[in-house]
Symmetry: none
Amino acid sequence: MSHFLDHIIVILVRPQMGENIGAAARAMANFGLRNLRLVAPRDGWPNPRADSLSSGAFDHMEPVTLYDTLSDALHDTHLSYATTARPRDMVKDVLTPREATDQSYAHVAAYPQQKVAFVFGAERTGLENDEIAQCHKIVTAPTSDDFSSLNLGQGVLMLAYELFQAHHIHDADKPPAPITHETASQASFDNFFHRLEAALEDGGFFREDSLRPRVIRNLRSFFMRTHPTEQELKTLHGVLRSLVSLRGGKNDS
Amino acid sequence: MSHFLDHIIVILVRPQMGENIGAAARAMANFGLRNLRLVAPRDGWPNPRADSLSSGAFDHMEPVTLYDTLSDALHDTHLSYATTARPRDMVKDVLTPREATDQSYAHVAAYPQQKVAFVFGAERTGLENDEIAQCHKIVTAPTSDDFSSLNLGQGVLMLAYELFQAHHIHDADKPPAPITHETASQASFDNFFHRLEAALEDGGFFREDSLRPRVIRNLRSFFMRTHPTEQELKTLHGVLRSLVSLRGGKNDS
């Protein structure tokens, strides 16, 4: 495959301190990662504080790109990991950084055209549940039970370190385990999911407005978990179409 | 053996910035390391700058101890690793952090009375050749060839992270528990799936009888892959009900 690390995208969502963006970039460049995306950085971009903390890391990377929403930033990725210390009440695989990087490596080896994203939340608040729901899996670094205070730069560092090790170890010898199916892009998935959401709206599925965000989030998590192929999404579109339309005119309960 | 991580000693030789000592302590506490030794810290000890950068890490550790020379600091250790980015002209084993931590783990398992030291040099200058010579082996973290600028806190973090993983993987007889959500029974699943199938039938989803078994199989595979909970099946029943309710009047393409 082409260079594994070039398939990895780091996304920082609503980062607050330029210093932390700089530290994240430095950690990335130390371990050969080149693609950094920022979603709504508090102090805008470019940011001189980030530059000064980066030790020149940006010179070794692709230009940083800016997005308004996580959804936009994920549009061309096929596999995404939400990094969060606290797995919420959400049904998703939770992996260690090492497991996630091994899995990413296998994914990129099987699908050399695809990109894999690692998503980090804001410094204090982390990722919101809706943002976690937009990712396929969760990565949580095991830390000491009674003292767990990794900052943003440290979180990126550990992950970058593991990714580089995976690259280093695997490229050296054995081929990694293959992935079983070719997954659709996030944009294709979103397209289906928005159609489903609209149809449910029409069908009166959301009885209470207050519960709606959580119901959508759970539903999204459910469908994300399948990690569908383009073919499967096509089938789901057909399923949806056929469920809302009754052949011949007979009525269903 | 007693707690593996309690056998590990981190030694910082001639550290300059209190901030870096604080960051190192924070990284240690994050990963359950408790023993920090300082050799001739430039600004003496205690150091308020270290405290403020530590996020309270020192509260989770043994008291820091001070030494005049590396030789003194190593006196009661049995295995020591010099961390240095540049292996000098010296005949010693050079290990990755992962190899070194695995080796440490094996060592402590075999010799439960012994201590293992990881030695870090001053910020800019690193360890001197004489100091490297006092250690048994060298640890070098593989980093990107064209950008390698790990600072002291980051170096300690990576090592602490690896030590904790080694502890975690080996000590827990059980591997870190994969999150298992409580899945629904096959009967519940089949119940949902048959309802879906019937609704699709009514909607004219199966255009060609000959393809029908394969389409159903694929659809079933898709939904099986989620391995849903009972709660999720309930939601899916609701989704189905609400989608087919749209069939009443308007016609969808």
